[in-house]
């Protein structure tokens, strides 16, 4: 006998389409934290994060027919969220500001290491804001969300090779800033 484990995103979406609203709650519970961090990494301020995350899920549930499970649910949600951030930026409705006010402190008690980690995060946040859009999105999808290059390529409409190149360019530029 095997342990079935938690249902996958495809199964949850199918359950939601059949009218099971608990499946929708599970999708939100599963992906909201990662999505929030991603949007925060893209530059959304803490004050607008809740609205952005809610709007992302709203648009996703309204367009579930457009998600066929070929790319990861997390990557798909991140794309919708990134588009919302971009639209807000274009309209000038709330300037996109990189905020690190709500970051968690690293798990160490050494005040010097803690200070160094804070400094790194601060520089990283500034560096992310200065990256070209594709490099920033690829870096966050890869380093923060753990998406594979194939998945990133599908999400951003590029090739896995190009996604890898964008990632390495981003790493190079960020390394110069953080080091």
């Amino acid at each position: 006998m095997t342990d079935a484990g938690p249902p996958g995103d495809v199964a949850l979406v199918a359950a939601y389409r059949r009218g099971d609203e608990r499946a929708a709650t599970e999708i939100v519970r599963r992906h909201a934290p990662g999505l929030t961090r991603y949007l925060h990494g893209l530059g959304a301020g803490p004050s607008e994060l809740d609205d952005l995350v809610q709007e992302t899920f709203f648009k996703a549930f309204r367009a579930l027919d457009g998600w066929r499970g070929e790319s990861s649910m997390r990557g798909w949600l991140c794309t919708i969220g990134a588009n919302l951030v971009r639209d807000g930026y274009r309209r000038g409705k709330g300037r996109v500001v990189l905020s690190i006010e709500d970051r968690d402190l690293p798990d160490n008690s050494d005040p010097y290491e803690e200070l160094a980690a804070r400094e790194t995060e601060s520089r990283l946040a500034i560096g992310l804001a200065g990256l070209p859009r594709l490099q920033r999105e690829v870096f966050l999808l890869r380093a923060q969300q753990g998406c594979e290059y194939d998945d990133i390529a599908r999400i951003l409409g590029t090739t896995p090779g190009a996604a890898r190149v964008h990632y390495h360019h981003a790493v190079k530029r960020l390394r110069e800033l953080v080091s």
Partner: protein
């Protein structure tokens, strides 16, 4: 694939705590400054945002999202109904207009056919009465005959004017009635 690329590919999973470095990878990290710098970035980006990520209540978020989705679906249905009503109303109006044009045109054509000279000729041919006594009449005489026929209705004499019946005897009246009744 170089050791640096292999290490780079595994960094997100290690940073997320899903896997751990092997001994060889730790040794490579110690020796390679480029990989160490990348690892520092990947580890740092994991630390950005957990605070903001954990502050919301997923249940409340899901409830709010689903309420909005249901409301949007209701609005969609209302819009679809209105749109179909407009479509059907437009089609009905177009059909009514088409029928009016078709039947109006047919009636007008029938009226025109009834009043054309050709139809008059056909009618006169159909009801032709031979009048040999007029064959030798001059145009003036024919015109005089026509003028005599085309007396306006108001000026023409009628039976009522001409025959009131006041000066007819009872016997004559009965004879006329018997003749009418056969």
């Amino acid at each position: 694939m170089t050791p640096c690329e292999r290490l780079s590919d595994r960094m997100p999973a290690v940073a997320a705590g899903r896997i751990a470095w092997t001994v060889e990878e730790v040794a490579h990290l110690d020796a390679c400054a480029v990989c160490r710098a990348e690892w520092r970035l990947v580890a740092a980006v994991q630390r950005i945002g957990p605070g903001v990520a954990s502050r919301g209540d997923p249940e409340a978020m899901a409830a709010a999202v689903l309420a909005r989705v249901r409301e949007a679906e209701r609005t969609d249905r209302r819009r679809a109904t209105t749109r179909w009503a407009l479509v059907w109303g437009g089609l009905a109006a177009a059909a009514a207009l088409m029928l009016a044009v078709l039947f109006g045109g047919a009636a007008r054509r029938a009226q025109e056919v009834a009043t054309t000279p050709a139809s008059t000729t056909q009618a006169s041919v159909a009801f032709h009465v031979s009048l040999p006594e007029l064959d030798g009449a001059a145009p003036d005489e024919l015109q005089a005959v026509l003028d005599g026929l085309e007396v306006p209705l108001g000026e023409s004499s009628t039976l009522d004017d001409e025959f009131s019946g006041d000066d007819v005897s009872q016997q004559d009246m009965e004879r006329v009635l018997r003749a009418w009744e056969g």
